[in-house]
């Protein structure tokens, strides 16, 4: 099952490599990973998605918690949550396809953020599923470049991950 694990980490050199190293070392997989400092400059927030059974995710969270620099963590997929990913996609856009691409981007609430005679660059945010769906809908277009941020997320309602 797909999991989204969100981690508050001491914002220190080397902390990230311990998290990533742990996954490699114990052969857990990482599908996506995002990390940036938070409003509290001493903390980073790291979100990673992985595929794991209940038993595996229990081990993953316990092993993560053992890392000295991990302050707190939550498995967002345990409860209701919001997840977002950002994608920038550059496509060949000429002739009749130009209008078609724009229409589809609109349907997905994408924005065209850069334009040349022959290309569009579209920015899209949403769940991983939505971004995947958009990519599938562009199957007939020529996709030149795709960059995705990886998933970020937090719990719905009053539940928070903070010190």
């Amino acid at each position: 099952m797909r999991r989204i694990i969100s981690v508050l980490l001491e914002n220190e050199a080397g902390a990230l490599s311990r998290v990533v190293g742990l996954f490699a070392q114990r052969s857990y997989n990482i599908e996506s990973l995002t990390v940036a400092p938070t409003d509290d400059a001493t903390l980073s927030r790291l979100t990673l998605t992985t595929r794991a059974s209940d038993k595996q995710v229990e081990q993953i969270t316990k092993q993560l918690n053992k890392l000295i620099e991990v302050v707190k963590l939550v498995d967002l997929t345990d409860g209701e949550h919001i997840e977002r990913e950002l994608m920038l996609i550059k496509l060949k856009a000429t002739g009749a396809q130009r209008a078609e691409i724009k229409r589809t981007a609109d349907i997905f609430r994408g924005q065209i953020v850069d334009v040349t005679n022959a290309t569009y660059t579209i920015q899209l945010t949403g769940t991983t599923e939505k971004l995947d769906a958009f990519l599938r809908s562009m199957a007939d277009a020529t996709v030149m470049e795709v960059v995705r941020s990886g998933v970020s997320g937090l719990s719905r309602g009053e539940k928070i991950l903070a010190l």
Partner: protein, 578 residues
Amino acid sequence: MLSGGDILIRSLQEEDVDYVFGYPGGAVLHIYDALFRQDKMKHVLVRHEQAATHMADGYARSTGRPGVVLVTSGPGATNAVTGIATAYMDSIPMVVISGQVQSHLIGTDSFQETDMVGISRPIVKHSFLVKKAEDIPMTIKKAFYIATTGRPGPVVVDIPKDITNPTDLVEYSYPAEVAIRSYSPASKGHSGQIKKAISMLLSAERPMIYAGGGVIQGNGSELLATLSRKLGFPVTNTLMGLGAFPATDPQFLGMLGMHGTYEANMAMHHCDLILAIGARFDDRVTNTVSKFCPHAKIIHIDIDPATISKNVEVDVPIVGPVVNVLSEMNELLDVSWVDRSSDQEKLLAEWWSQIEGWRKQDCLKVERDDGDTDIKPQEAVQAVYRVTNGTSYVTTDVGQHQMFAALYYPFDEPRKWINSGGLGTMGFGLPAAMGVQMAFPDEVVTCITGEGSIQMNIQELSTCSQYGLPVKIINLNNRSLGMVKQWQDMQYEGRHSHSYMDSLPDFVALVESYGHVGFKIDRLDELEDVLAEVYSEKLKDKLVFVDIQTDPEVHVYPMHVAPNGAMRDMWLKKGVRT
């Protein structure tokens, strides 16, 4: 105002460090100079950095206090890696200080630069790269705190050379306390869980107590003995847990696992309740996990939540220090034990009589054909046990000799059996024994080794001369990498691919060249007498190396049948299985 080098030394003194095991080099010259100008701490100069880590490890295992290592950057640091991994796998408290190249050279592939924090990352509890001299005291404070609390482990502190520069002076004060917001090991077990465990103990029909190294590390041996005697339950220890419960006690069934006793493994397989304490259901214990103890409910006490249900699903986890949890259990039992019904007493008695039946198998009996006069390695260990009255510290290396020592030298006290269980590091035995001897100069320290393993750190004979360490080395010399050969006999139709030791040195001459005493024994009838001399008052202050020529054909039994075997599936002797 002090230099970084002096600050480091002062900080170590604040932590009551009495020995530093190390080896100098460019990146730690400032630190060595600071060491030279003090006389509170002693430095032990080894002959290879791996040995420094094992010495610190032996010191830590025998005393319960953290071992301290000092090595230079690059090759000094990489040489220490095996010893750090060894300590990590067995949860041994250790602080390793490694020199690093100057800050401005880091990342430039400079001379003797290695990314020590990176290399050691998967084998440390934590590590630090120190950025400025002012940070040294707090870093050292944290390093000792992390290494010794919770589930102990090695901590690496990497210090760039410029930070210890004698000409850069900064304010020094040592922190009285330390708090790390992201680190708070459990301080007591969950009372509700403990109560649940007690009621399970009270209603068990075929219980087993399975205790591991955590009981020793957590100083819980006495409490375990109290608990076990109150309950009257059978006890087994892991390889790491030997000595956690007195081995000569009738309630003790011996070691369990791959080379565990018949009675311990059978009792585990058939029990209906396991009380696991400071043990981690290692694959060398469980055999095939899906077949592990099919009838048992499991209570698991451990300081590390991550060991709970990692390999084997448990029913009642209790996370906390063994001392607190066992004390609480003992108190509860004082009150509730009387509630136990006479039915249960009868069932426990039946369980014991079943166990006595397994004991009759006498699985450790030493086999000998008529006319065979070879020294059996088991007999050599038994003789050492007799001559030392079972009170010696015993370190081992890795191989058959290690298992023979574990099975034939029963330990009645914790911290006397010192061996690399998790990593299985050949080369551990001698330096570990040296660390023990440093900590306990007046005690008898024995290293039971093999001719393969001893050669992995034999250079330390020189260190022993320098510091006058009277370790007794018992070399069970079977002219082969016995454990490898045994597997080849059993699984590769006896094809002995590179498992023999050719070109062995004359060990007696070798040790004599270092100024030690050597004996060679090749006859059974001289075994006891020579050993008596080895451990005599006359040789008390000498390192003695005893090269015992043992029968190379002997296998270690019992041995789990693998793959796909359960706890109860064992080879009992060559070609004979359960």
